[in-house]
């Protein structure tokens, strides 16, 4: 399967970053992969089912803190903790999905924003969530033997492997859904509401399902975040509205309804600011008068510009650039023999 190849390639890129000069960049690379997974779930919601959620980051936070509590306070086994968190996320997605039965579009966005805000406040209020600050986990034990601490380089490569496997899994699951009768139903409820009903598709059922799946994917991303970073992340710095918007941007820029587009979108939205702005900043600082320049705030401007440009010129997302290139190359190759034939 193409996704296994994709995941393997991603793993080796991550591995080479970890073994390279700047292993700290691997954190960003792992984030690209993790956000790709979350964006795949969000794409089912936004691209296919025509629904929107601004609580995605909050659901990721719930899952990292949930894992932390289960593993540290109750000493639950890693896999069992992950299973509990995913099931809990599914239930939560179902609850939030109920909102989508009553409202759509901007109203749904505002309602989910409110949900995210409530979750954020909950984190800040309870000690179990370390008052919303990030909390580290000591180490992860697999099958009672392999312990991964996240400090040793070998362990990090192992963890990158887990993230890559998660990526493959996420791609396969979404691919299977989208290509199945369920995928058709998701598209029907968003694009031909009345016909969907007349053809026997329960709009209620599929809206709830879409929210459940998107939330489970967000939680899965959260679990992988905790696994790789070995930290819950903080409510204010990680699991905030900004991240939810970034995830939406990944879906829009990558290409709604495109699965590989999510990886491309994440690579553009997360990767370009992290991997190119920082060296560019250092380069600018090399000039005397620009010594104190900072490009920190430019990430958001960059993301915003990209969204506008994408919607204006590539409504099907950046993935369309690649498919067009492919098309051009193919037609070039197909033309060549005929041209040769003409000459002869």
């Amino acid at each position: 399967m193409q996704y296994i190849l994709l995941g393997t390639v991603m793993f080796f890129i991550g591995r080479s970053i970890l073994l390279g000069d700047t292993p700290s960049n691997a954190d960003y690379f792992a984030q690209i992969l993790i956000y790709t997974i979350v964006a795949l779930g969000l794409n089912l919601l936004l691209g296919f089912s025509g629904l929107v959620s601004l609580a995605t980051a909050a659901f990721m936070g719930i899952s990292t803190y949930g894992m932390h509590i289960l593993m540290e306070n109750y000493e639950v086994n890693y896999f069992l903790a992950a299973l509990i968190v995913l099931i809990f996320a599914g239930g939560l997605g179902l609850l939030v999905g109920v909102l989508s039965l009553k409202m759509q579009g901007i109203y749904l966005a505002i309602a989910t924003l409110f949900v995210a805000h409530v979750i954020g406040e909950l984190f800040r209020s309870f000690e179990a969530f370390n008052y919303g600050e990030s909390a580290r986990i000591s180490e992860i034990t697999f099958f009672g033997e392999t312990s991964l601490s996240g400090y040793a380089q070998d362990d990090r490569i192992y963890l990158m492997g887990i993230v890559a496997i998660g990526l493959i899994l996420a791609f396969v699951v979404i691919h299977n859904i989208v290509k199945s009768p369920s995928g058709r139903a998701f598209m029907a409820i968003s694009r031909s509401y009345h016909a969907a009903l007349a053809m026997g598709i329960s709009v209620r059922r599929y809206r709830l399902l879409a929210f459940m799946i998107a939330t489970i994917f967000a939680a899965f991303g959260g679990i992988l975040y905790l696994t790789y970073m070995q930290s819950t992340g903080s409510v204010d710095r990680n699991w905030n509205l900004e991240l939810s918007l970034i995830l939406l941007a990944i879906v829009v820029v990558g290409g709604m309804k495109s699965l590989p587009g999510m990886l491309l979108g994440a690579a553009i939205i997360i990767g370009i600011p992290e991997f190119f702005f920082t060296p560019f900043e250092e380069f600018l600082q090399g000039f005397g008068p620009l010594e104190n320049i900072s490009l920190r705030g430019f990430d958001d401007i960059f993301t915003g510009l990209l969204i506008i440009l994408t919607i204006l010129f590539y409504p099907y997302g950046a993935i369309r650039i690649i498919s067009r290139l492919k098309h051009t190359v193919q037609s070039k190759f197909q033309n060549k023999p005929s041209k040769g034939g003409d000459a002869a």
Binding site: S180, S182, H194, A195, G200
Partner: protein, 261 residues
């Protein structure tokens, strides 16, 4: 003709103070093509929406005559109507533009999808078999409609006439015993209308489907329908063969008279 398929009794539906449908009663018999005509705003589409349960707060009763017992359709949720053999098309096209013609037609077979999303994620072998069966059926229907060459094309960008046929194809996927067509010929040119006429007739004969249709194109209605019911302001005007209704004074005043002016 054979027995009734569907009976509508004293159907009334109002929006605010406006009575869109006013105590209307009629029957559809098996294998019959029944045309519902009337000027714009006469309440024709409202009747369809009541029959297919998009509206629930109507007065009166819509009864489906089954082989064993009758069913009051009000008890049936809108998305279960197709299970009772009633499929419909829409006046304003309701297709998924950004997917293939095939996928759009397959939507019509959703009630025959017995697998759930877990089966789909895990790719159960039964899913593949079922999908293959549905695709073959869809291909037969597309061939029947004469658009099987377009099955992999996107719906977006297809001519209007083709989209109308796709909607009919989708409705046929549900093996309806009653097919409800909301202005099937609207927006079609003369050639397309003739083609459609042939298709509707063939559906009626080969699929043995009763057909209820709304249409403004009088030629189309007169050629196809066994029975025509004319309504105006939601009220019954006349019923009979196309000729009888055409010659009815009340109908001429309300409908044809207006059309000529």
């Amino acid at each position: 003709m054979s027995e009734n398929v569907l009976s509508v009794k004293d159907l009334s539906m109002s929006f605010g103070g406006l009575k869109a449908v006013d105590s209307l009663s009629f029957h559809i018999k098996g294998k019959e093509i029944l045309g519902l005509i009337g000027p714009n705003g006469a309440g024709k589409t409202t009747v369809f929406n009541c029959i297919t349960q998009f509206y629930k707060n109507y007065e009166g009763i819509v009864i489906l005559q089954g082989a064993n017992k009758d069913k009051d359709l009000r008890e049936v949720p809108v998305h279960k109507i197709i299970d009772y053999g009633i499929a419909r098309t829409f006046q304003n096209l309701e297709l998924i533009p950004d997917t293939s013609v095939m996928d759009n037609v397959l939507i019509g077979a959703h009630k025959d999808v017995k697998s759930n999303i877990i089966h789909h994620i895990l790719q159960f072998p039964s899913l593949k078999r079922n999908e293959k069966r549905l695709k073959e059926k869809a291909e037969r229907i597309l061939a029947f409609l004469g658009i099987d060459h377009l099955k992999d094309a996107y719906v977006h960008g297809q001519p209007y006439g083709i989209m109308k046929l796709i909607e009919i194809g989708r409705a046929l996927m549900g093996d309806p015993s009653l097919l409800i067509l909301d202005e099937p010929a609207a927006g079609l040119n003369e050639k397309e209308t003739k083609h459609l006429e042939g298709i509707v007739k063939k559906i009626n004969e080969e699929y043995e489907t009763a057909i209820l249709l709304i249409e403004h194109n009088m030629g189309f209605v007169m050629d196809l329908c066994n029975t025509v019911i004319a309504i105006n302001f939601g009220r019954f005007l006349a019923q009979g063969t196309p000729k009888e209704v055409q010659n009815n004074k009340a109908v001429q005043e309300a409908y044809l008279g207006e059309a000529e002016s």
